[in-house]
Symmetry: D2
Subunit: 299 residues, 4 copies
Amino acid sequence: MQLGMIGLGKMGGNMAARLREKGHDVVGYDVSPGARDVETLSELVDRLDAPRVVWVMVPSGEPTAAIVSELGDLLSEGDIVVEGGNTHYVDDAPRAEALAAKGVGYVDAGVSGGVWGRQNGYGIMVGGGVEDVERLRPVFDSLTPDDGGGFVHAGAVGAGHFVKMVHNGIEYGMMQSFAEGYELMVASGIVKDVPGTFESWREGTVVRSWLLDLLGRALEEDPDLSELRGYVQDSGEGRWTVQAAVDLAVPAPAITASLFARFASRQDDSQAMKVVAALRNQFGGHAVTKAAPTDAEQG
Amino acid sequence: MQLGMIGLGKMGGNMAARLREKGHDVVGYDVSPGARDVETLSELVDRLDAPRVVWVMVPSGEPTAAIVSELGDLLSEGDIVVEGGNTHYVDDAPRAEALAAKGVGYVDAGVSGGVWGRQNGYGIMVGGGVEDVERLRPVFDSLTPDDGGGFVHAGAVGAGHFVKMVHNGIEYGMMQSFAEGYELMVASGIVKDVPGTFESWREGTVVRSWLLDLLGRALEEDPDLSELRGYVQDSGEGRWTVQAAVDLAVPAPAITASLFARFASRQDDSQAMKVVAALRNQFGGHAVTKAAPTDAEQG
Amino acid sequence: MQLGMIGLGKMGGNMAARLREKGHDVVGYDVSPGARDVETLSELVDRLDAPRVVWVMVPSGEPTAAIVSELGDLLSEGDIVVEGGNTHYVDDAPRAEALAAKGVGYVDAGVSGGVWGRQNGYGIMVGGGVEDVERLRPVFDSLTPDDGGGFVHAGAVGAGHFVKMVHNGIEYGMMQSFAEGYELMVASGIVKDVPGTFESWREGTVVRSWLLDLLGRALEEDPDLSELRGYVQDSGEGRWTVQAAVDLAVPAPAITASLFARFASRQDDSQAMKVVAALRNQFGGHAVTKAAPTDAEQG
Amino acid sequence: MQLGMIGLGKMGGNMAARLREKGHDVVGYDVSPGARDVETLSELVDRLDAPRVVWVMVPSGEPTAAIVSELGDLLSEGDIVVEGGNTHYVDDAPRAEALAAKGVGYVDAGVSGGVWGRQNGYGIMVGGGVEDVERLRPVFDSLTPDDGGGFVHAGAVGAGHFVKMVHNGIEYGMMQSFAEGYELMVASGIVKDVPGTFESWREGTVVRSWLLDLLGRALEEDPDLSELRGYVQDSGEGRWTVQAAVDLAVPAPAITASLFARFASRQDDSQAMKVVAALRNQFGGHAVTKAAPTDAEQG
């Protein structure tokens, strides 16, 4: 089918290429000239036959908001916007409502698969109305792996980005679990072959997983990870997962611990731990004013 | 090679069978008659040619301790005991020392693979001296998967059980991560197809793993897990992992959160939360004695 | 000085009374007749001499929003609104801006002290402009304890509610700490006099505190807390504290653990723990399809 | 009454002094000459009239073990040893049993109060038999504050050190709670007067406590704690508290988080976070082998 793709970077460019290989008619637009087929969004819309399908695959936040807003002005009743970035799910409903006022549909799609997706297919999790999603079915079928799987219509608008967010939250927890296990083995002094241990787990064990495969590869390249610092960024999805847990009154201690560990990893010094140190100093009885401190030794 | 196998249950029995299929000469003993080849430990020792190899595959704790102790009396210089249960790693060194006094070797082996291991091979993580481990190499080669992998000599005595313990600690964290993600999706009211979401993640995503495969299967059988209670036992390995973290001064918040979540799952009511409730009651200013409580609303 | 007080409940009514005792001229309004001096907000504004000071002490959320909005219509340049409820600090700036458009000032005040505050004085933490805060100084001086202390001008608009929120977050952590200690002692079977232990800590120890005094009193009334269930509500401040931690990339594991413990206390069953139970079932090898489960015993 | 005091340092020396002021006959011994009344333990025992009371107030671990063992040789039936150090409670029962074989009693005492205890009195939490504790009552009465309170007979041998351990675990959680609140306020950029905020809380609020008094004093001396590093040691009691929680299947997330925060504060770099960084690198698709990595951006 015919489709406009906005954003032709590592993700959108590869997705457009895969769709073309599968016989779809893709008109591409990007802010940078080069791969783009049209010079402006307006031209993109003109080039597509109504009712149109436009897939937005640009960085989340401001860039996506600007594109979706502009599309709202350009598109017509019966068209559909697919928002494929890592958008916070709470932003989906307002966008959908704004478009709905003009009769334009909105489907949010969490996309997983990265640079290898072009070849292997992508995981696609979508939210939106049944009719809109069904109309897009040929596109989803071509994007997901050839042998089936990799697709879910998770619910109404916002559900696609919600489950992508939860997916990443789970990912945080799994990575942290391996990380804690690694540090334990290194610190123990007992385990003489830590990389070999992870490698041995890749077959037959309960923890076998793609993340373990990646860790095996990382340790093969750098057996004691000496070329890395333990400094870890966090993307929005981890924070949003914890905020959703708080909003929904769901205890999420492992995922939250994983997020906090990343926060701590980026601190040169901890303001909080300064307070604990200060309190221990005060216990020590060094200060000599009226209050009655307790000896540090006896806490 | 020749080997005595003590314990012919689900694990030991299958391991003995796999070893025999691979051409080893296995003499089996079990407390229950039936599959056993000899009636007593003493007879087992007599039947083996020195220097002997005896693999102990009985429940950890008292049963294992008793068998190893008895073997200490029966075996001779040059023999080797392989301890394959889920033993706390701190118990390995004392056992090895006791046996070493008689010139008997000791190798601890963490074994993973369960009922499917007979067919697919087992993951084996061992601790012990290089010579002892090398002598056992033909046994390990036959137990691990046919296409290689699944074996590590992790370090000296205790290292095998240590890494098996860490493996299980990581497993706790991974399971908890999936569990928190599930509850978030269920609680959200946004995700209309939770089983389908997990199913869709099995291909192409970062969280793909054997545990996710299992979860997919569980949700296929019981889509809202309505036949289960959220009551979860914990085996020793999770506790030992946290204790090792404490001993080694390693922060392990995600694994610990997973253990505590299991503890909490088994409580009908929480003593701790009674205290918090009591304190909030006190805030309410119902009591009328000298102290100056603060209004609950203004906390 | 002259002051309008909106909301004459347990908090506002007592605060009005304390201010009158200290010689201030308070005009009170409440939705319920009875204690109120005027029938409508409009009448309240008419009764006050410009430039006016109006203290809003009604439930946070909608009720406060409605009152502040209506005051925006009624008040004039040079008047000041003091918002004394447990408002989320992020709501303060928009309210202040809306009022500023008309030249009306806004000061947010976190108030602590509850039903005993009338007699003992209140803790007051305010955010707002220096001039506005200084103009209100006589009111703050009369509300805080007679012997000084209990007041801070924490920063610009929003800072008062922010620090009140943090205060309550800390309170969550302290309560949880005592609660965990209590459960440990009860579970140990070693401590035969738990109430007596808490009581003994009230003098001379590091943990002595008003919360400990309250706990001592609660245990005196009900030594094993048998009349309570471990079911604990959470007010907004705990959640907002965690959300602020996430927004600010500050690790706050103890406060977050306290919040999650409250969430868990209110669950009859845990969806998350059902997942862990389901996974352990799958390990057990009961299912008979293609995948290769690992024995639960060997996990 | 008559009493031998072993260990005349900051704790034991002051306690001996307080007891003498209250009319007790104290014979002191220390490894260092100076304050000691006798040159050897043996002389100490000779100087006391049977049945004797000997209070051991030396560093926990090896020093205490050595002294108690030596006393076992020197003392006679009917004598009592009081062990006042910060001993792990699990060590108490074996010591008591060893002494009981000779008819010597054993009482464990957790002591709080530090350098100010001589003047203000100490908090004393004891474990032991009723008769032994009653015989020591005059000593406890003199050590605790003059206005009563500060004493509990918590249970049998070990209970005194158990509750002192829990006391310190609670202390960890309280300190961490204040610390997290401090960091939140500093990071917010909203709170312009953090020291003033803590100071204002010292009167009338729910979090008022001796630790808050200490924090107020610390911030008065160094308002932004710039002279400190966020590097915090941990004493055994925090670790033992978490281990007890694990042993007793009691969830203790806040206290454990406090312990782990201290562990993390002492790491120059985190091995665990290196693993997370390595995994994120692998996502990035830099490696070029067969596996199918997912794009970091799309996680």
